[in-house]
Protein backbone atom coordinates (compact mmCIF):
# COMPACT_ATOMS: atom_id res chain seq x y z
CA UNK A 1 0.00 0.00 0.00
CA UNK A 2 1.49 3.37 -0.92
CA UNK A 3 1.68 5.95 1.85
CA UNK A 4 -0.37 9.14 1.64
CA UNK A 5 1.63 12.19 0.61
CA UNK A 6 1.91 15.22 2.81
CA UNK A 7 2.79 18.71 1.63
CA UNK A 8 3.46 21.70 3.87
CA UNK A 9 2.94 25.13 2.32
CA UNK A 10 3.91 28.52 3.56
CA UNK A 11 2.19 31.84 2.99
CA UNK A 12 2.65 35.00 5.08
CA UNK A 13 3.54 33.68 8.52
CA UNK A 14 6.22 33.26 11.14
CA UNK A 15 6.94 29.56 10.40
CA UNK A 16 5.92 28.64 13.92
CA UNK A 17 3.03 26.45 12.92
CA UNK A 18 5.05 24.33 10.52
CA UNK A 19 7.81 24.18 13.10
CA UNK A 20 5.24 22.57 15.36
CA UNK A 21 5.47 19.48 13.17
CA UNK A 22 9.25 19.34 13.67
CA UNK A 23 8.68 19.94 17.36
CA UNK A 24 6.84 16.62 17.65
CA UNK A 25 10.19 15.04 18.48
CA UNK A 26 8.75 11.86 19.92
CA UNK A 27 6.38 11.26 17.04
CA UNK A 28 8.26 12.65 14.07
CA UNK A 29 9.70 9.36 12.86
CA UNK A 30 6.32 7.64 13.33
CA UNK A 31 4.68 10.34 11.30
CA UNK A 32 7.30 9.85 8.60
CA UNK A 33 6.48 6.11 8.69
CA UNK A 34 2.79 6.71 8.21
CA UNK A 35 2.97 9.38 5.53
CA UNK A 36 5.40 10.52 2.89
CA UNK A 37 6.60 14.00 3.71
CA UNK A 38 6.61 14.88 0.03
CA UNK A 39 6.94 18.64 0.09
CA UNK A 40 8.20 20.55 3.12
CA UNK A 41 10.84 23.07 2.09
CA UNK A 42 11.60 24.20 5.62
CA UNK A 43 12.76 20.68 6.47
CA UNK A 44 13.73 19.03 3.24
CA UNK A 45 15.43 19.80 -0.01
CA UNK A 46 13.99 16.79 -1.77
CA UNK A 47 10.64 17.31 -3.31
CA UNK A 48 8.14 14.84 -4.69
CA UNK A 49 5.81 16.30 -7.26
CA UNK A 50 2.10 16.57 -6.51
CA UNK A 51 -0.70 15.79 -6.30
CA UNK A 52 -0.73 15.48 -2.54
CA UNK A 53 -3.19 13.66 -0.32
CA UNK A 54 -2.94 16.14 2.51
CA UNK A 55 -1.76 19.72 2.38
CA UNK A 56 -1.06 21.69 5.51
CA UNK A 57 -1.19 25.38 4.73
CA UNK A 58 0.43 27.92 7.00
CA UNK A 59 0.11 31.64 6.57
CA UNK A 60 -2.28 34.15 5.10
CA UNK A 61 -2.69 35.61 1.65
CA UNK A 62 -1.05 39.03 1.38
CA UNK A 63 0.26 39.27 -2.18
CA UNK A 64 -1.27 38.88 -5.61
CA UNK A 65 1.21 36.11 -6.29
CA UNK A 66 0.06 34.21 -3.21
CA UNK A 67 -3.59 34.74 -4.09
CA UNK A 68 -2.90 32.87 -7.31
CA UNK A 69 -0.58 30.29 -5.71
CA UNK A 70 -3.21 29.12 -3.21
CA UNK A 71 -5.43 28.01 -6.08
CA UNK A 72 -2.56 25.92 -7.40
CA UNK A 73 -2.10 24.42 -3.93
CA UNK A 74 -5.79 23.59 -3.79
CA UNK A 75 -5.64 22.00 -7.21
CA UNK A 76 -2.75 19.79 -6.10
CA UNK A 77 -4.34 18.73 -2.81
CA UNK A 78 -6.98 16.13 -2.01
CA UNK A 79 -7.47 17.51 1.49
CA UNK A 80 -6.42 20.98 2.50
CA UNK A 81 -6.04 21.83 6.17
CA UNK A 82 -5.10 25.31 7.30
CA UNK A 83 -2.79 25.46 10.29
CA UNK A 84 -2.74 28.42 12.62
CA UNK A 85 -4.19 31.85 13.10
CA UNK A 86 -2.55 33.31 9.98
CA UNK A 87 -4.07 30.73 7.65
CA UNK A 88 -7.36 30.52 9.50
CA UNK A 89 -8.01 34.14 10.38
CA UNK A 90 -5.43 36.27 8.58
CA UNK A 91 -2.95 36.41 11.48
CA UNK A 92 -1.41 39.38 13.17
CA UNK A 93 -0.55 40.83 9.76
CA UNK A 94 -4.30 41.30 9.20
CA UNK A 95 -4.05 44.36 11.43
CA UNK A 96 -3.29 46.15 8.15
CA UNK A 97 -6.91 45.48 7.18
CA UNK A 98 -7.92 48.39 9.36
CA UNK A 99 -5.22 50.70 8.01
CA UNK A 100 -4.00 52.15 4.80
CA UNK A 101 -1.43 49.74 3.50
CA UNK A 102 0.58 52.41 1.72
CA UNK A 103 1.15 54.09 5.04
CA UNK A 104 2.27 50.75 6.43
CA UNK A 105 4.74 50.18 3.62
CA UNK A 106 6.27 53.60 3.99
CA UNK A 107 6.75 53.10 7.73
CA UNK A 108 8.90 50.04 7.10
CA UNK A 109 10.50 50.51 3.72
CA UNK A 110 12.54 53.29 2.17
CA UNK A 111 11.43 52.38 -1.34
CA UNK A 112 7.76 51.51 -1.17
CA UNK A 113 7.78 51.05 -4.92
CA UNK A 114 9.80 47.81 -4.50
CA UNK A 115 7.12 46.28 -2.33
CA UNK A 116 4.28 44.32 -3.77
CA UNK A 117 1.55 43.67 -1.34
CA UNK A 118 -2.22 43.48 -1.13
CA UNK A 119 -4.36 45.86 0.88
CA UNK A 120 -5.43 43.02 3.14
CA UNK A 121 -4.21 39.87 4.81
CA UNK A 122 -6.91 37.25 4.40
CA UNK A 123 -7.48 33.71 5.60
CA UNK A 124 -7.06 30.85 3.13
CA UNK A 125 -10.78 30.07 3.29
CA UNK A 126 -11.52 33.38 1.63
CA UNK A 127 -9.73 32.11 -1.47
CA UNK A 128 -10.29 28.37 -1.73
CA UNK A 129 -12.36 25.62 -0.13
CA UNK A 130 -10.76 24.43 3.10
CA UNK A 131 -11.38 20.95 4.54
CA UNK A 132 -10.41 21.70 8.11
CA UNK A 133 -9.15 24.72 10.01
CA UNK A 134 -6.78 24.16 12.91
CA UNK A 135 -6.64 27.08 15.32
CA UNK A 136 -3.90 28.60 17.39
CA UNK A 137 -0.98 30.99 17.23
CA UNK A 138 0.77 28.68 17.19
CA UNK A 139 -1.20 25.45 16.77
CA UNK A 140 -0.94 22.80 19.46
CA UNK A 141 1.23 19.75 18.83
CA UNK A 142 -1.40 17.44 20.22
CA UNK A 143 -4.05 18.82 17.90
CA UNK A 144 -1.77 18.75 14.86
CA UNK A 145 -1.05 15.07 15.48
CA UNK A 146 -4.78 14.46 15.93
CA UNK A 147 -5.50 16.07 12.56
CA UNK A 148 -2.83 13.96 10.83
CA UNK A 149 -4.07 10.84 12.60
CA UNK A 150 -7.67 11.56 11.67
CA UNK A 151 -6.63 12.11 8.10
CA UNK A 152 -4.63 8.86 7.91
CA UNK A 153 -7.63 6.95 9.27
CA UNK A 154 -10.15 8.84 7.22
CA UNK A 155 -12.14 10.26 10.07
CA UNK A 156 -13.16 13.64 11.44
CA UNK A 157 -10.59 15.20 13.81
CA UNK A 158 -11.68 15.35 17.43
CA UNK A 159 -11.05 19.03 18.11
CA UNK A 160 -13.74 20.32 20.50
CA UNK A 161 -14.72 23.94 19.72
CA UNK A 162 -15.40 24.64 23.42
CA UNK A 163 -14.08 27.61 25.32
CA UNK A 164 -10.68 27.76 27.00
CA UNK A 165 -12.56 27.73 30.32
CA UNK A 166 -13.33 24.02 29.85
CA UNK A 167 -9.64 23.18 29.81
CA UNK A 168 -8.92 25.74 32.51
CA UNK A 169 -11.35 24.05 34.86
CA UNK A 170 -10.18 20.56 33.97
CA UNK A 171 -6.69 21.71 34.77
CA UNK A 172 -7.87 23.04 38.10
CA UNK A 173 -6.59 26.58 37.70
CA UNK A 174 -8.52 29.05 39.86
CA UNK A 175 -10.11 31.49 37.42
CA UNK A 176 -7.82 34.54 37.13
CA UNK A 177 -10.71 36.80 36.28
CA UNK A 178 -12.66 35.81 39.39
CA UNK A 179 -9.78 35.41 41.83
CA UNK A 180 -7.66 38.37 40.73
CA UNK A 181 -9.78 40.54 38.50
CA UNK A 182 -7.39 39.89 35.61
CA UNK A 183 -9.23 40.34 32.31
CA UNK A 184 -9.30 37.02 30.44
CA UNK A 185 -10.52 36.16 26.92
CA UNK A 186 -10.85 32.46 27.88
CA UNK A 187 -14.67 32.36 27.85
CA UNK A 188 -14.85 33.39 24.20
CA UNK A 189 -11.65 31.72 22.98
CA UNK A 190 -11.39 28.33 21.28
CA UNK A 191 -9.92 25.59 23.46
CA UNK A 192 -6.82 23.61 22.48
CA UNK A 193 -3.91 25.13 24.37
CA UNK A 194 -4.82 23.36 27.65
CA UNK A 195 -5.59 26.77 29.16
CA UNK A 196 -1.99 27.82 29.27
CA UNK A 197 -2.13 31.49 30.17
CA UNK A 198 -4.34 31.30 33.27
CA UNK A 199 -2.08 28.48 34.53
CA UNK A 200 0.77 30.97 34.24
CA UNK A 201 -1.15 33.62 36.08
CA UNK A 202 -2.22 35.78 33.18
CA UNK A 203 -5.44 36.20 31.27
CA UNK A 204 -5.94 34.41 27.97
CA UNK A 205 -5.17 36.76 25.07
CA UNK A 206 -7.17 34.81 22.52
CA UNK A 207 -4.43 33.25 20.41
CA UNK A 208 -6.74 30.35 19.39
CA UNK A 209 -9.41 32.66 18.05
CA UNK A 210 -13.12 32.59 18.77
CA UNK A 211 -14.91 29.57 20.29
CA UNK A 212 -18.35 28.63 18.95
CA UNK A 213 -20.93 31.38 19.48
CA UNK A 214 -18.75 33.64 21.63
CA UNK A 215 -20.70 36.15 23.64
CA UNK A 216 -18.18 38.97 23.18
CA UNK A 217 -20.58 41.68 24.25
CA UNK A 218 -21.26 40.10 27.64
CA UNK A 219 -17.59 39.53 28.32
CA UNK A 220 -16.86 43.05 27.12
CA UNK A 221 -19.19 44.61 29.69
CA UNK A 222 -17.62 42.54 32.43
CA UNK A 223 -14.15 43.67 31.33
CA UNK A 224 -15.27 47.24 31.51
CA UNK A 225 -16.36 46.57 35.07
CA UNK A 226 -12.81 45.39 35.71
CA UNK A 227 -11.52 48.72 34.46
CA UNK A 228 -10.90 48.07 30.76
CA UNK A 229 -11.56 50.87 28.32
CA UNK A 230 -13.12 50.49 24.91
CA UNK A 231 -9.68 50.88 23.41
CA UNK A 232 -8.39 48.07 25.64
CA UNK A 233 -11.14 45.89 24.20
CA UNK A 234 -10.28 46.81 20.65
CA UNK A 235 -6.63 45.99 21.28
CA UNK A 236 -7.46 42.73 23.06
CA UNK A 237 -9.72 41.52 20.26
CA UNK A 238 -7.32 42.63 17.52
CA UNK A 239 -4.22 40.55 17.91
CA UNK A 240 -3.54 37.27 16.14
CA UNK A 241 -7.15 36.49 15.28
CA UNK A 242 -8.47 40.01 15.03
CA UNK A 243 -9.85 39.38 11.57
CA UNK A 244 -11.89 36.31 12.59
CA UNK A 245 -15.48 37.48 11.99
CA UNK A 246 -16.64 37.25 15.62
CA UNK A 247 -13.67 39.22 16.95
CA UNK A 248 -13.63 41.62 14.04
CA UNK A 249 -17.26 42.61 14.33
CA UNK A 250 -17.10 43.00 18.09
CA UNK A 251 -13.91 45.05 17.92
CA UNK A 252 -15.57 47.40 15.48
CA UNK A 253 -18.41 48.05 17.92
CA UNK A 254 -15.89 49.17 20.53
CA UNK A 255 -14.08 51.47 18.17
CA UNK A 256 -16.48 54.35 18.53
Amino acid sequence: MSKPRLAVWKFASCDGCQLTLLDCEDQLLNVADAIDIAYFPEATKGEIAGPYDLSLVEGSVTTAHDAARIHEVRRLSKKLVTIGACATAGGVQALRNWANVDDFVSVVYAHPEYIETLETSTPISQHVEVDFELRGCPISKRQLLEVINAFVHDRKPDIPPDSVCVECKMRGTPCVMVAKGTPCLGPITHAGCWALCPAYDRGCYGCFGPATTPNVAALGSWWRGLGASNNDLVLALRTFNGYAPEFREASETYEH
Binding site: N149, H153, D154, R155, K156, D158
Partner: protein, 282 residues
Protein backbone atom coordinates in the same frame (compact mmCIF):
# COMPACT_ATOMS: atom_id res chain seq x y z
CA UNK B 1 -29.90 2.67 48.55
CA UNK B 2 -32.20 0.80 46.28
CA UNK B 3 -30.98 -0.60 43.08
CA UNK B 4 -33.35 -1.67 40.37
CA UNK B 5 -31.03 -4.16 38.79
CA UNK B 6 -28.05 -6.09 39.96
CA UNK B 7 -25.25 -3.57 40.09
CA UNK B 8 -23.07 -3.74 37.09
CA UNK B 9 -19.68 -2.12 37.07
CA UNK B 10 -19.61 0.74 34.69
CA UNK B 11 -16.26 0.62 33.15
CA UNK B 12 -17.19 -2.96 32.46
CA UNK B 13 -20.46 -1.67 31.14
CA UNK B 14 -18.41 0.82 29.13
CA UNK B 15 -16.24 -2.01 27.82
CA UNK B 16 -17.28 -3.24 24.39
CA UNK B 17 -16.94 -6.76 23.12
CA UNK B 18 -15.47 -7.38 19.68
CA UNK B 19 -17.95 -8.38 16.98
CA UNK B 20 -17.14 -9.26 13.37
CA UNK B 21 -19.12 -8.14 10.34
CA UNK B 22 -20.50 -11.24 8.67
CA UNK B 23 -22.65 -9.56 6.06
CA UNK B 24 -23.09 -6.13 4.60
CA UNK B 25 -25.85 -4.98 2.35
CA UNK B 26 -26.47 -1.54 0.90
CA UNK B 27 -30.03 -0.47 1.55
CA UNK B 28 -30.02 3.02 0.07
CA UNK B 29 -27.46 5.58 -1.05
CA UNK B 30 -26.17 6.17 2.47
CA UNK B 31 -27.66 3.32 4.52
CA UNK B 32 -26.26 -0.13 5.10
CA UNK B 33 -27.49 -3.20 6.94
CA UNK B 34 -24.74 -5.05 8.67
CA UNK B 35 -24.81 -8.33 10.54
CA UNK B 36 -22.38 -9.11 13.31
CA UNK B 37 -21.20 -12.23 15.14
CA UNK B 38 -19.57 -12.00 18.57
CA UNK B 39 -15.90 -12.98 18.59
CA UNK B 40 -16.37 -14.61 21.98
CA UNK B 41 -19.41 -16.58 20.79
CA UNK B 42 -21.75 -15.05 23.38
CA UNK B 43 -24.75 -13.59 21.56
CA UNK B 44 -26.78 -10.53 22.57
CA UNK B 45 -30.32 -11.18 23.67
CA UNK B 46 -32.56 -8.19 23.38
CA UNK B 47 -36.08 -6.82 23.28
CA UNK B 48 -37.17 -5.22 20.01
CA UNK B 49 -36.65 -1.47 20.34
CA UNK B 50 -33.46 -1.71 22.39
CA UNK B 51 -30.18 -0.43 21.07
CA UNK B 52 -26.51 -1.15 21.34
CA UNK B 53 -23.52 1.17 21.46
CA UNK B 54 -21.42 0.46 18.39
CA UNK B 55 -17.75 1.39 18.60
CA UNK B 56 -15.68 2.12 15.52
CA UNK B 57 -11.94 1.82 16.11
CA UNK B 58 -10.27 5.12 16.93
CA UNK B 59 -13.35 7.13 15.93
CA UNK B 60 -16.01 6.76 18.57
CA UNK B 61 -19.17 5.12 19.68
CA UNK B 62 -22.81 5.67 18.75
CA UNK B 63 -26.21 4.30 19.72
CA UNK B 64 -27.80 2.14 17.03
CA UNK B 65 -31.10 0.28 17.32
CA UNK B 66 -31.15 -3.42 17.01
CA UNK B 67 -32.88 -4.19 13.72
CA UNK B 68 -32.92 -7.93 14.13
CA UNK B 69 -31.18 -11.12 15.06
CA UNK B 70 -33.32 -13.76 16.73
CA UNK B 71 -31.74 -16.49 18.82
CA UNK B 72 -29.21 -18.22 16.62
CA UNK B 73 -29.08 -15.39 14.09
CA UNK B 74 -26.43 -12.71 13.82
CA UNK B 75 -27.03 -9.29 15.36
CA UNK B 76 -28.47 -6.94 12.75
CA UNK B 77 -28.06 -3.16 12.55
CA UNK B 78 -29.18 -0.78 9.85
CA UNK B 79 -26.99 2.31 9.86
CA UNK B 80 -27.24 5.56 8.01
CA UNK B 81 -23.89 7.27 7.34
CA UNK B 82 -24.38 10.79 8.66
CA UNK B 83 -21.12 11.56 10.43
CA UNK B 84 -17.78 10.36 11.68
CA UNK B 85 -18.74 7.16 13.45
CA UNK B 86 -21.60 6.06 11.23
CA UNK B 87 -19.41 6.65 8.16
CA UNK B 88 -16.74 4.42 9.66
CA UNK B 89 -19.26 1.70 10.47
CA UNK B 90 -20.89 1.81 7.06
CA UNK B 91 -17.47 1.53 5.44
CA UNK B 92 -16.59 -1.67 7.30
CA UNK B 93 -15.91 -4.58 5.01
CA UNK B 94 -17.12 -8.10 5.71
CA UNK B 95 -14.74 -9.48 8.31
CA UNK B 96 -14.27 -6.00 9.82
CA UNK B 97 -14.39 -5.56 13.57
CA UNK B 98 -16.44 -3.30 15.82
CA UNK B 99 -17.03 -3.07 19.55
CA UNK B 100 -20.53 -3.71 20.81
CA UNK B 101 -22.06 -2.90 24.20
CA UNK B 102 -25.60 -3.49 25.27
CA UNK B 103 -28.42 -4.03 24.71
CA UNK B 104 -29.64 -0.91 26.46
CA UNK B 105 -32.87 0.92 27.07
CA UNK B 106 -36.53 0.11 27.12
CA UNK B 107 -37.91 -1.56 24.02
CA UNK B 108 -41.39 -1.70 22.48
CA UNK B 109 -44.21 -2.88 24.80
CA UNK B 110 -44.93 -6.14 23.00
CA UNK B 111 -46.54 -7.74 26.05
CA UNK B 112 -48.93 -4.86 26.36
CA UNK B 113 -49.97 -5.35 22.73
CA UNK B 114 -50.85 -9.01 23.17
CA UNK B 115 -54.51 -9.54 22.37
CA UNK B 116 -54.79 -6.09 20.86
CA UNK B 117 -54.63 -4.49 17.46
CA UNK B 118 -51.20 -3.19 16.58
CA UNK B 119 -50.36 -0.13 14.50
CA UNK B 120 -46.73 0.16 13.46
CA UNK B 121 -45.79 3.49 11.89
CA UNK B 122 -42.30 4.19 10.59
CA UNK B 123 -40.60 7.07 8.85
CA UNK B 124 -37.25 6.75 7.07
CA UNK B 125 -34.55 5.04 9.09
CA UNK B 126 -37.21 4.70 11.84
CA UNK B 127 -38.18 1.37 10.33
CA UNK B 128 -34.92 -0.14 11.64
CA UNK B 129 -35.98 -0.36 15.30
CA UNK B 130 -39.46 -1.52 14.21
CA UNK B 131 -38.21 -4.25 11.92
CA UNK B 132 -37.67 -6.58 14.85
CA UNK B 133 -41.24 -5.88 15.95
CA UNK B 134 -42.56 -6.98 12.56
CA UNK B 135 -40.40 -10.11 12.71
CA UNK B 136 -41.69 -10.83 16.20
CA UNK B 137 -45.28 -10.40 15.02
CA UNK B 138 -44.80 -12.89 12.21
CA UNK B 139 -43.23 -15.34 14.65
CA UNK B 140 -46.15 -14.89 17.06
CA UNK B 141 -48.94 -13.83 14.74
CA UNK B 142 -51.75 -15.41 16.78
CA UNK B 143 -50.98 -13.27 19.85
CA UNK B 144 -52.19 -10.09 18.16
CA UNK B 145 -55.36 -8.78 16.61
CA UNK B 146 -55.18 -6.90 13.33
CA UNK B 147 -51.65 -5.66 12.61
CA UNK B 148 -50.76 -2.90 10.20
CA UNK B 149 -47.51 -1.32 9.14
CA UNK B 150 -47.47 2.13 7.61
CA UNK B 151 -44.15 3.30 6.27
CA UNK B 152 -43.05 6.45 4.54
CA UNK B 153 -39.79 7.79 3.15
CA UNK B 154 -38.84 10.87 1.23
CA UNK B 155 -38.32 9.02 -2.04
CA UNK B 156 -38.55 5.45 -3.36
CA UNK B 157 -34.77 5.15 -3.32
CA UNK B 158 -34.80 5.63 0.44
CA UNK B 159 -36.97 2.63 1.27
CA UNK B 160 -35.31 0.14 3.59
CA UNK B 161 -35.66 -3.63 3.40
CA UNK B 162 -37.40 -3.52 0.01
CA UNK B 163 -37.34 -7.25 -0.50
CA UNK B 164 -38.66 -7.97 2.97
CA UNK B 165 -41.33 -5.32 2.53
CA UNK B 166 -42.53 -7.11 -0.54
CA UNK B 167 -42.50 -10.44 1.30
CA UNK B 168 -44.31 -9.02 4.32
CA UNK B 169 -46.95 -7.60 2.02
CA UNK B 170 -47.39 -10.88 0.19
CA UNK B 171 -48.24 -12.71 3.41
CA UNK B 172 -51.56 -10.86 3.87
CA UNK B 173 -51.45 -11.56 7.60
CA UNK B 174 -50.46 -7.96 8.24
CA UNK B 175 -51.55 -4.90 6.39
CA UNK B 176 -48.58 -3.07 4.79
CA UNK B 177 -48.96 0.43 3.37
CA UNK B 178 -46.03 2.36 1.93
CA UNK B 179 -45.83 5.94 0.75
CA UNK B 180 -43.15 8.34 -0.48
CA UNK B 181 -43.01 12.14 -0.31
CA UNK B 182 -41.76 12.41 -3.86
CA UNK B 183 -42.28 9.72 -6.45
CA UNK B 184 -39.95 8.83 -9.31
CA UNK B 185 -40.83 7.43 -12.71
CA UNK B 186 -40.81 3.82 -11.54
CA UNK B 187 -42.97 4.43 -8.48
CA UNK B 188 -46.60 3.40 -8.80
CA UNK B 189 -47.45 3.41 -5.10
CA UNK B 190 -48.77 6.11 -2.80
CA UNK B 191 -47.37 9.60 -2.72
CA UNK B 192 -47.63 11.82 0.35
CA UNK B 193 -46.89 11.81 4.05
CA UNK B 194 -47.36 8.76 6.31
CA UNK B 195 -50.37 10.21 8.05
CA UNK B 196 -52.25 9.99 4.75
CA UNK B 197 -52.13 6.21 5.10
CA UNK B 198 -53.71 6.05 8.53
CA UNK B 199 -57.36 6.43 7.43
CA UNK B 200 -56.87 3.40 5.25
CA UNK B 201 -55.89 0.89 7.87
CA UNK B 202 -58.27 -0.95 10.15
CA UNK B 203 -57.92 -1.16 13.89
CA UNK B 204 -60.11 -0.82 16.96
CA UNK B 205 -59.04 2.49 18.55
CA UNK B 206 -60.19 1.40 21.97
CA UNK B 207 -58.10 -1.76 21.82
CA UNK B 208 -54.98 -0.69 19.97
CA UNK B 209 -51.33 -0.23 20.76
CA UNK B 210 -49.35 1.93 18.35
CA UNK B 211 -45.58 1.91 17.90
CA UNK B 212 -44.17 4.90 16.09
CA UNK B 213 -40.62 5.72 15.06
CA UNK B 214 -39.33 8.41 12.78
CA UNK B 215 -38.35 12.07 12.87
CA UNK B 216 -39.80 13.93 15.87
CA UNK B 217 -42.23 15.89 13.77
CA UNK B 218 -43.56 12.72 12.10
CA UNK B 219 -44.05 11.03 15.48
CA UNK B 220 -45.99 14.01 16.78
CA UNK B 221 -48.25 14.16 13.75
CA UNK B 222 -48.95 10.41 13.71
CA UNK B 223 -49.68 10.38 17.43
CA UNK B 224 -52.06 13.30 17.08
CA UNK B 225 -53.82 11.61 14.14
CA UNK B 226 -54.16 8.37 16.10
CA UNK B 227 -55.51 10.40 18.99
CA UNK B 228 -58.07 11.90 16.66
CA UNK B 229 -59.05 8.35 15.68
CA UNK B 230 -59.58 7.61 19.37
CA UNK B 231 -56.38 5.89 20.44
CA UNK B 232 -55.36 6.98 23.95
CA UNK B 233 -52.05 8.78 24.03
CA UNK B 234 -50.70 6.33 26.58
CA UNK B 235 -51.27 3.50 24.08
CA UNK B 236 -49.11 5.27 21.54
CA UNK B 237 -45.39 4.59 21.93
CA UNK B 238 -42.63 6.58 20.33
CA UNK B 239 -38.89 6.04 20.19
CA UNK B 240 -36.87 9.12 21.10
CA UNK B 241 -33.49 10.09 19.85
CA UNK B 242 -30.88 12.12 21.72
CA UNK B 243 -27.12 12.38 21.74
CA UNK B 244 -25.67 9.58 23.87
CA UNK B 245 -22.16 8.89 25.02
CA UNK B 246 -22.67 6.04 27.50
CA UNK B 247 -26.07 4.43 26.97
CA UNK B 248 -26.39 3.73 30.70
CA UNK B 249 -27.59 6.98 32.24
CA UNK B 250 -24.26 8.39 33.35
CA UNK B 251 -23.01 10.80 30.73
CA UNK B 252 -25.99 13.15 30.96
CA UNK B 253 -26.19 13.88 27.25
CA UNK B 254 -29.54 12.27 26.45
CA UNK B 255 -31.66 14.07 29.03
CA UNK B 256 -35.06 15.08 27.82
CA UNK B 257 -36.66 16.79 30.77
CA UNK B 258 -36.20 14.37 33.62
CA UNK B 259 -35.84 11.35 31.35
CA UNK B 260 -32.57 9.80 30.42
CA UNK B 261 -33.56 8.65 26.96
CA UNK B 262 -31.02 5.81 27.07
CA UNK B 263 -32.42 4.37 30.26
CA UNK B 264 -35.99 5.62 30.60
CA UNK B 265 -36.45 5.24 26.82
CA UNK B 266 -35.79 5.25 23.98
CA UNK B 267 -39.32 3.86 23.74
CA UNK B 268 -41.75 5.90 25.85
CA UNK B 269 -45.51 6.38 25.94
CA UNK B 270 -46.37 9.47 23.90
CA UNK B 271 -48.53 10.66 26.81
CA UNK B 272 -45.47 11.08 29.00
CA UNK B 273 -43.57 13.28 26.55
CA UNK B 274 -46.15 15.10 24.46
CA UNK B 275 -45.96 18.31 26.45
CA UNK B 276 -42.20 18.33 26.36
CA UNK B 277 -42.16 17.64 22.63
CA UNK B 278 -43.76 21.01 22.02
CA UNK B 279 -40.99 22.92 23.84
CA UNK B 280 -38.35 24.18 21.50
CA UNK B 281 -34.73 23.13 22.09
CA UNK B 282 -35.53 21.25 25.29
Amino acid sequence: MTTTAAPEFVAEAMLPRPFRVVSRRQETGDTFTLEFEPEDGVPITYDPGQFTMLYAFGVGEVPISIAGGRAGEPLMHTVRAVGAVTDAICNLPEGGLVGVRGPYGKGWPLQRAVGKDLVIAAGGIGLAPLRSVVVHVFDNRDQFGSVSLVYGTRSPSELLYEEELRWWRSRFSIEVEVTVDRADAAWYGDVGVVTNLLPRITFDPANTVAMVCGPEIMMKVVARELGARGVESDEVFVSLERNMKCGIGLCGHCQFGADFVCRDGPVVPFASVMNRMTVEEL
